[in-house]
Structure formats: C-alpha cells, structure tokens
C-alpha cells in the first residue's frame, strides 16, 4: 500500500500534518461504516476496507519513522531494522553513555535526571529528523542518494526507543 496515494497527497517527508488530517476527516466522512449501515453486504465490505486503508495510511504518514520507511519503500530501498547497516562506533558510544545515565536514574528514581535526559534526547531526535528531512529533499531529484540517508533513520529509531523507555519509567514512578 502506498499511504500517500491512499490519502491523495504527494509522497514527501515534509508535510503539513494538520492539512493531511483534514483530508483524513473528509475521507472518513465519506467512508466510515456508519454511513453504510443500510447498504448491502458487499458495499459495506468495500467501504470498511477503504476506511481501514485510510486509517492505516494516516497512522503511517503521521509517524515520522513509519513515514520515512514508506518513502524508502517507494524509492525501492529496503529498510527495516535487520536490513539496515549498523550505526557507527561514535554514535553507539553516545547512546551507551546516555543509557547508563538512564539506568542510574531509573534505579535512583531520579525524576530530575529523567526530565533532563528526555529533553536532551528530544532535541537529538528533532535534529536527526531535520537531517532526514534534508536528506529526502536532496534525494527528491536524485533517488540514488536515498540509500545514503538510511543510517539517519537508524539513529531516529534509537532516540525514539530511548524516549519511549523514559516515558515508561516515568509512568512507573507516578503510579
């Protein structure tokens, strides 16, 4: 499935998500099963399938990592964690240090350090995302450059997972 085509938008990393969401709403108004309650079984089935497709496409497009994966797939570049090259030594070292801090903060129930780590890594995530966006812009006219930005996606995955862990630890501490 090409999620961009389902939503009728050009395949691009940089999207005005509010405008895309408005489009999703228009499509939902046309396709939601509630609008087909008295239709025949096959029409209901087709509408349900299309409504599911629209929601699935929106789920992909709104998520920065999945959006990137979809663009790579459209460009014929195989991605997925097991297929991507391992990140460089320097990057791994950086991640390891941060992870150690996270583990300490978790065992000490140190909310302040958690907060600092969260905002630190959020900033890293943002700048990685900008780098990825710039990469997609550059690859727009030259798809052979697509493969060179795969490692940036890999870094995004690391930061995203780190932030998810911070959030899980915070949940555990407040409950």
């Amino acid at each position: 499935m090409n999620p961009f085509a389902v939503l009728g938008i050009p395949p691009s990393y940089e999207l005005e998500l509010k405008a895309v969401e408005e489009k999703v709403r228009q499509l939902s108004r046309a396709l939601h099963p509630d609008k087909f309650i008295s239709a025949g079984a096959s029409e209901r089935r087709v509408a349900l399938g299309k409504a599911v497709e629209v929601n699935e496409a929106w789920r992909i497009v709104r998520n920065p990592i999945q959006r990137a994966e979809a663009l790579f797939a459209l460009g014929g570049v195989a991605v997925g964690e097991t297929r991507e090259p391992a990140p460089g030594q320097a990057f791994l070292f950086e991640v390891m240090e941060l992870r150690e801090e996270l583990a300490d903060a978790k065992s000490n129930r140190d909310a302040q350090t958690l907060k600092r780590l969260a905002s630190d890594v959020s900033r890293r995530l943002e700048s990685t995302e900008s780098a990825l966006a710039a990469g997609f812009r550059a690859a727009h006219d030259d798809s052979s450059r697509l493969a060179s930005i795969v490692p940036t996606l890999g870094q995004m995955r690391f930061w995203r997972r780190f932030l998810d862990e911070v959030s899980a630890i915070e949940d555990e501490m407040t409950n």
């Binding site: 489009k23 228009q26 108004r29 509630d34 929601n55």
Partner: protein, 629 residues
C-alpha cells in the same frame, strides 16, 4: 408519557440501550429529542439483576432485586463484570454470593453460575436483561427497531463479542456497539453545541473509562481512551463491606451467601446515604456501627487514585495536559460519590459538568446514534470517530508479543502481516492473537487462535501468506488470509479463548424458545425479510442517484435481482430469501465499488491539501493579529 396512535405499519423505531453493570436503560428519539423509557412507576432504571427460581420463573429488574436476599445464589447481580471472562478469572474470587461451575471438557471457557440444578452464563443473564428492556420499549413504541448498545470503552474483544451474543440471544438486531463515554459526549455535544477538547470521566458500577475527545462542528473525534473494566462502584461497596466486617471482626470465609448479599446491600445503601449525610448508624447482628463521610472518603481514596493514574496516561496518549481540557463530563452513578467528584475537580482543575443525569446520559447518546444510523436518516454533519482501546498483537517465538496495532489507533483499523511455512507441504498453521500493552503473551489477554487451513502443499518457505487483521467499527476483530503465490483465500477457523463459538450461541437460541427450531425459523424469516427490504431500498436509491455509473447490462442484472428478491421476500422460505440477497449483492458489487471510488475521489478533491494549508495559514495570521471575527 406519549401516546402514540396505533399504526400497524409504523416504521420500526431504533432504540439505544445502556446495558450497565448495576442498572440498564433504554431510550429513543422523539421529535428530535432523546428520551429514556420509564416503567409503570416512572422509573427509567432497570436494575441489571436476574433471578432464576426453582420453578423456572425468571424475573428481571426491581422484582429480581427484591428476591436477592431470599435467593442469593440464584439472583445474579452485576453479570457484566463476568461477561467475556474465563471461568478462572480473578473476578470470580472476589467477595460475592455465587457458586461457579467449571466448564466440562470441550465446553467454552466462560464463567458459569450454578442456579438451582442448572447453569447460566453471563451472556444468558445479559440476554434476559436485554429482553426485558426490549419489552419495556415495546410498551411505549408500536414497532421496536434495531438497537445501538453501549459498552465500556475499555471492553476487550471478548467482552464486546459477548455483548453482541447476548443481543442476538435476546432477539435484538444490533446496529452498532458504541463506547459509553463517546455516547455521553454525543448527548452533551449535540445538546450544548460546544466545540473544544473534552474529557469524559465514566465511573459506573463495575467499570471505569476515561476518554479524551475533540468536538468540532458535529465531528466527535476520540483522541485516546483508557480504563479498567474491573473498577467501579461495586469495588466501593466491597471495600465498605470489608470495613464493616472488620468492625464486626469476621472475615470473608465466615460469611454465608445471604449474609454477604446483605452486607453488600447495606454497603451500597451506606454509600448512597453518605452522599448527603455526614454520618450513618448501621445495625448489624447485634452491634451498631457508625460510618462517617470521612471513613467513606478514606475507603474511596485509593480507588480514586487508580482512576487518576489512568487519566494521566490517557492525556499523555492524546499528547495533551489537563490545561488543554475545555470541559470534563461526568458519567456513571459512582460519580455521585462526593469524594470522587472532588478528586476529578482537583485532578483536572475545573468543576466537572453533570447537568445531564449521569445515570441517563449514556442511554440518551445511544438513542441519538441509533436515530442517526437508522431513524430520521443520516445527518452528514455528525460523525463519531473512535479508537481501539488496547493494542493488538500476535504471539511470536518465545512467548513474545509482536504489536501490530497500537492502542488508540482510529477505528475501523487493520494491519497486514506476512507469514511463510516452516516445513515442506505444511497445509495449515495457527496464529495466536492477544490484546494488551505488555511485552509477554502471558501478561496480555488472549483473544483467540486463528487456524489457517488449506495452504497448497509447497516446499518450506515457499508459501507466502498474507494475513489481514481487521477491527471493525464495533471494535471486533476479524482475520482473513490469502496465499500470495496462488492467490488462494484461506479458510480461517476461530477459536475464541474466552467466549462462545457460533454453535454454542445457536444452541442457546434453540433452548431459549419453547418450540425450538420452529420459532427460530420464524425469526430467521422475519430477519431475512427486513434485510431484503433494506437492501432493495438501498440499491434502488443508489441506482436512481448515480445512473451514470451503470452500464445497460449491469442495470438489467440489478433490476432482475431486485425483482427476484422481492418475489422471494413475499414467500416464506428464509433460505431462498438469503440466496436472493446474495445474488443482488453480487449483481451490484461492481456498481458499489464504482460509487465508493467516486466518493473517495470527491473527498480527496473536495478540498485539496493546498486549500486547507492556505486556510490554516490565514487562520494563523488572523490569530496573530488577535482580531475578533
């Protein structure tokens, strides 16, 4: 009360049902206003209680509640808490007067209550309540139509399926299952015509839900939902009962079923009285116990805090904070407890709204949705967009869950997964689907095992199976599978982990009728006729609306199929009607697809992204200037 002039051809009136843990209600829309239906005592609440007496008499509601003391084991209260749960669920070990029966080998793993010499399941108890509500509606309306039934937002697949099974058993056609908080928001939103971000805090007799939703000109878009389907007023009652027991220096095991029922009733009355009084004296055995509002507040506090943790997570999932919430809507009888109300107010930092009766608001919302779906015709401006409450995953190696659909995904939704065979000539395999947020299968809730059969024999790794998981607008999961190299659609057999399969429900249906098969055939005939007429009406309307999408051959085929179906529907063979329904459906399939594609093209073109961006930009500039419209 309204007196409807008797009209044998009155169109069926769709109804909304709130099937609650403690009380149930039925409502409908009259002159564009939702109304609850009251009994002869002008009471809108039917206690969700069913009493099974030795002589076979089954009583429901207030009459059944009155018998609870005399027949504590045979009077099932709060059956909803057992709905869709396994026979060994922790719920069955909590304080209560029932005797449970373990399922025999080969029987479905569901809760079973022993009543006298027979056994009933929560689905059957719920069906008895639904039947009684349907009768209540029939007294008011000349022709009772299909129903929208509400369920807690946090209900999982098994609990939703069990609710649908109960409706089927009760002879109700279900238009849609909708989530209770969303129904409440619908009642508020259409009544007050407000836009903004709302939190619905729904603490009922047995379940807690919180839903964060955006209301925008008739669009009700749920952002996130959270809850606990075993947290509610019953737990407050139990905590009070335990408080009384420790005052009397007795424990659970020393309590007889009738004393337990008595204690729980006293606890409930205490809770109600302490809403307005600051202390209450209880005579129990030969002692007098004083319970104060402060005692109750202390008992309720841990429960309230549990709801707070769930609210925090829902806000986080919606990427919002309490300051972003424009209003908090209170739903459910337990929000009458002052300590709960105070907790909600301090949590969200604003006084909650309760101007629509929290006991009635869900049923009113359900009635509105029923009317929108099948009554006065669709209103293009109103639409509910809900989410799935729990993540959906599949078991992969080592008992680990691979999440395929994250919680709070907008519904209907779906995901695809590809599988291959592990052995040469392997013709089938099983997929285990679970629901929940944890990483291990053992910590999630098992939904069902789907067995794929009939894979063409091929060397290992050659067969490529695409499995499609789909959650429909009722929140119910279905699975389809296709072998990609041959394009063969696979048979998928479902074995629900906690639920009745089709055959078991069918058997219950037969048992429920005096003349079994004969009555069932009559019912099927009636159902198929309704379906036939609906399909004819919908197809005819579409043919008139979009003639340009039909070529002559299809038009002739559709017209013939309509004529055939009309003829079959005039006869009395339910099987023949069913065949002609399928024939019309097949004849109009391509036409339906064309209509759908055009609707999609229109929705996409209607307002292009650049238009909306320009509009948003204009809005931003407008806001920056801070002008008033």
């Amino acid at each position: 009360m309204f007196l409807e002039i008797f009209d044998p051809k009155a169109p069926p009136k769709p109804i909304g049902i709130d099937l609650g843990t403690t009380n149930s209600l039925v409502a409908y829309v009259h002159n564009e206003r939702p109304l609850v239906i009251t009994d002869c005592n002008l009471d809108a609440l039917t206690p969700s209680v069913v009493c099974y007496e030795k002589n076979g008499t089954v009583t429901v509601g207030r009459a059944a509640l009155a018998k609870a003391h005399e027949f504590p084991r045979e009077t099932i209260v709060s059956a909803k808490r057992f709905l869709g749960r396994g026979a060994d669920d922790p719920e069955t070990r909590k304080l209560g007067p029932y005797e449970f029966v373990a399922p025999a080998a080969g029987e479905a793993n569901v809760v079973r209550f022993r009543v006298n010499n027979s056994v009933v399941t929560p689905v059957e108890v719920s069906a008895a309540i639904l039947r009684s509500l349907r009768e209540l509606a029939a007294d008011e309306l000349t022709n009772v139509g299909p129903a929208v039934i509400t369920v807690p937002a946090y209900f999982d697949d098994a609990q939703r399926q069990a609710t649908k099974d109960a409706a089927r058993l009760a002879g109700l056609e279900v238009l849609r299952l909708i989530n209770e908080p969303t129904a409440a928001a619908l009642a508020y939103g259409l009544d007050k015509q407000q836009n903004g971000t709302f939190a619905v805090y729904d603490l009922g007799g047995g379940t807690f839900d919180v839903t964060i939703l955006l209301l925008e000109d008739g669009l009700f878009q749920v952002k996130s939902t959270g809850g606990d389907s075993a947290l509610g007023g019953d737990d407050i009652d139990r905590a009070i009962a335990h408080h009384l027991m420790s005052a009397l220096k007795i424990d659970d095991s020393a309590s007889s079923p009738s004393f337990t029922r008595h204690l729980l009733n006293i606890a409930r009355d205490l809770k109600h009285e302490l809403t307005t009084k600051s202390e209450v004296h209880v005579e129990l055995t030969d002692k007098t116990i004083v319970v104060t509002r402060d005692d109750l507040n202390a008992i309720v506090k841990p429960l309230a805090e549990r709801t707070g943790a769930i609210c925090r997570r829902a806000l986080k999932d919606a990427e919002l904070s309490t300051g972003d919430i424009d209003g908090v809507i209170l739903v459910g009888g337990s929000t009458r407890v002052p300590a709960i109300r105070q907790y909600v107010e301090s949590f969200f930092g604003k006084a909650p709204l309760a101007d629509i009766d929290p006991d009635q608001v869900v049923a009113l919302g359900a009635a509105i949705q029923a009317d929108l779906l099948a009554g006065s015709g669709p209103r293009d401006d109103v639409l509910l967009l809900d989410v799935i409450p729990l993540s959906l995953g599949i078991e992969v190696g080592g008992g680990v869950v691979d999440k395929i659909l994250p919680r709070n995904s907008p519904s209907p939704t779906g995901a695809k997964a590809t599988y291959t065979t592990q052995e040469d000539n392997q013709t089938g395999f099983t997929i285990h689907v679970v629901q929940g947020e944890r990483e291990l299968v053992a910590d999630c809730r098992s939904l069902a095992r789907f067995t794929l059969k009939g894979i063409p024999p091929m060397p290992a790794g050659m067969a490529k199976l695409e499995v499609l998981f789909q959650v429909d607008a009722d929140g119910l999961l279905s699975v389809r599978a296709k072998e990609m190299t041959t394009g063969i659609e696979q048979l998928v057999a479902v074995k629900p982990t906690y639920g009745l399969d089709d055959a078991a429900v069918e058997q219950m249906l037969l048992d429920a009728y005096d003349h079994g098969e004969e009555d069932l055939a009559k019912r099927r005939l009636a159902e198929n006729r309704v379906e036939a007429h609906r399909l004819i009406a919908a197809t005819s309307k579409a043919v008139v609306a979009d003639p340009e999408l039909l070529d002559d051959a299809s038009r002739v085929a559709i017209e013939k199929a309509i004529a055939d179906l009309e003829k079959a529907a005039a006869g009395s063979d339910p099987g023949a009607i069913h065949l002609k329904i399928e024939a019309l459906d097949a004849a109009s399939k391509e036409f339906a697809t064309r209509r759908m594609n055009r609707a999609i093209a229109r929705a996409i073109e209607g307002r292009s992204v650049s238009d909306v961006s320009a509009e948003l930009d204009a809005k931003d500039r407008h806001n920056e200037r801070g002008e008033k419209q």
